[in-house]
Amino acid sequence: MNRRDLLKAGLVAVAGMVIPLNALEVFDDEAKAAVKAAIEMVPKKRRWAFVVDTRKCVGCGMCVKACKMENEVPFDADVSRTWVERYVVLKDGDVLIDSPKEARYGYTKNDPMGREIKEDEIAKGFFVPKLCNQCEKPSCVQVCPVGATYKTEDGVVLVDRTWCIGCGYCIMNCPYQARFFHPVYNTAEKCTFCYHRITKGMKPACVQACAFGVRKIGMLNDPNSEVFQIVMNERVMVLKPETGNEPNVFYIGLDKIVR
């Protein structure tokens, strides 16, 4: 194909795209709106989302371990891209919350906040895994002065390690404290839904490591994905909706004491 052919082909393609849109002019407004909405849905379709079924979590911490290994966040460093929180509500109304060592070693003892608790004192208890919410309106991206943190086309928020100046503004502005400074690179660090894996058709390390099916990933607006099914048909909740960040991590079985 020479240059002229290429140009011709390009022109034909552009005309082909423009004409159908213009052809809509002859239809009435409603039809036009419907078709337009469908066209606009196309980019929206590509939106990674996550479901956490807290009812199934046993606090084994395998996800945290897997994440640290996969994403090379030093295992012994007291920060993590994902972590698991333990909530224990006592019969006398006390609430105990902790997440020792981000739960990288799992919860093996009945010792919330270092307190020895008898089983009959407990009203309810549960675990809540957390990770970056890949917010629809990420306040972390909003405040980065150099644009080192950005949202991809398919909705995952990433950090450019070669460009981040290490100001910490994004860390301050994440309502969920999903961000921290990487101990080795000294740049902002966060969960990426294992973007390097999901874009190659694999599952994130934490999803793969969870033996209890707590964590699920998929495309929102893809009717075939499990995530879509759950978000559409079940009662799901997001964390801190009042911040307006519009998280893309949906929780099943969230309690009101969880922040």
């Binding site: 460093a77 920060v79 405040v143 002065p145 080192a148 460009w163 921290f180 911040t243 922040r259």
Partner: protein, 399 residues
């Protein structure tokens, strides 16, 4: 164990998120503090140039040059001590992301710096010319450069100089206000920190900026005069004292309003925020920031016949108070966990054993606080700040 940034100085209490540390440390308190001094000193110098407050003439040039000296230091805590990648600081000029409240920082700063620098140039032009003609050697050369090749000195050019200074002072005031209001916005717009999130923040920062700047000018003026064994002009001190007192009242009113508003609307976070304000930080806020830093100076300044020593004490108190305000806002704000179920305590490194401990510690703060005075001494060689021998407010500028 691999040390994580923040771990060194953060003590966690109750439940905080695992990744939660005090990420914005003492330098983030120092940065608005020095920026505030810049804005305040400039406003003071403009009161003479623009509004013709004659009794302020002995300090007008000093305040202007001091403002510039402070301006050079103001970004240092942020750029060289806070950033984990200071070598990339200029990225903000290459790829500014203007949705961020700090992206325009460099721009705002440079524009303001340019205004102050040109005002100094116009104010000192005759001095530069005279010196370039009488001095020999390296100093003569420097003065020649400082004249920028303009040697006209007659009534017409003097008039133009005067007009230029007035004009620059006039556009300087809104830029100074913008500069510091902007700093307030950087904090006020952080929606995750309950104590900061307030539209009043920019105005609060601006008011405290003005009082700290004026206080520092009083303080340095008195010390400087004592040092050079010159006469301290009582009228000048009193005039500055009056400006200071009225602005303290404004600042205090706004700061109280902010707390009252937080408490009255009592949003979800208030339960824990109130524990910071009335608990962990009560001494710092009510005794140091408000009592020592504002109420006491108001009383000292409003008692008639303000003496030099009283003004000195009052301005010292204001300087401590405003510093406490910056500390309480920056550290206090971060002391409550975003989980609303825990606290963090900040323990500033004192004796440095590692570079990190120096950079984030007391000694780098002291260094940064001394630097403006060193700059002032250097500038004083080229742009002498205390030129008046006598307290005579009616004669034309005497050299």
């Amino acid at each position: 164990m691999t040390e994580v940034h923040g771990q060194l100085w953060t003590i966690k209490q109750l439940f905080t998120y695992p990744n939660e540390y005090i990420y914005w440390t003492v330098h983030i308190a120092l940065y608005p503090y020095i920026t505030g001094l810049v804005a305040g000193a400039f406003v003071l110098s403009s009161l003479y140039h623009l509004f013709g407050k004659k009794e302020l003439r002995p300090v007008s040039r000093f305040a202007l040059v001091f403002s510039f000296a402070l301006l050079l230091v103001a970004p240092m805590p942020l750029l060289f001590f806070h950033l984990l990648h200071p070598e990339r600081a200029f990225n903000v000029f290459f790829t500014p992301h203007y949705y961020s409240a700090i992206a325009a920082f460099g721009l705002v700063f440079s524009v303001y710096g340019l205004i102050v620098a040109s005002e100094i140039w116009f104010a000192y032009r005759p001095h530069f010319i005279a010196q370039s003609q009488s001095r020999k050697g390296i100093m003569g050369l420097i003065f020649k450069v400082l004249t920028l090749g303009s040697y006209d000195l007659d009534e017409r050019t003097a008039h133009i100089d005067e007009k230029a200074v007035k004009f620059l002072a006039a556009i300087g005031i809104p830029s100074a206000c913008f500069l510091h209001g902007y700093v307030g916005f950087i904090f006020g717009s952080v929606k995750t920190v309950a104590m900061w999130k307030s539209p009043l923040m920019p105005v609060i920062f601006l008011m405290s900026a003005i009082i700290s700047g004026v206080a520092l000018c009083i303080w340095t003026y008195i010390l400087g005069m004592k040092f050079f064994r010159r006469e301290i002009c009582t009228d000048t001190v009193r005039s500055m004292g009056r400006v200071l007192a009225w602005f303290i009242i404004l600042a205090l009113t706004l700061e109280m309003l902010d707390f009252v508003f937080h408490g009255y609307t009592a949003e979800e976070s208030w339960s824990i925020l109130s524990k910071i304000i009335f608990g962990k930080f009560k001494f710092k806020i009510f005794v140091l920031q408000w009592g020592l830093g504002m109420l006491l100076p108001i009383i000292l300044l409003f008692i008639p016949k303000l003496s030099t020593i009283r003004a000195f004490v009052a301005s010292t108190c204001v300087l401590i108070g405003v510093w406490m305000m910056r500390w309480d806002v920056v550290i206090g704000g971060q002391s409550m966990s975003k989980s609303l179920a825990g606290f963090m305590k900040y323990k500033m490194p004192i004796w440095p054993h590692t570079f990190e401990e120096f950079r984030e510690g007391l000694f780098s703060v002291i260094l940064l606080l001394i630097l403006p005075f060193i700059f002032l001494c250097i500038f004083n060689k080229f742009t002498p700040v205390f030129t008046e021998k006598k307290c005579n407010f009616d004669t034309e500028e005497a050299h």
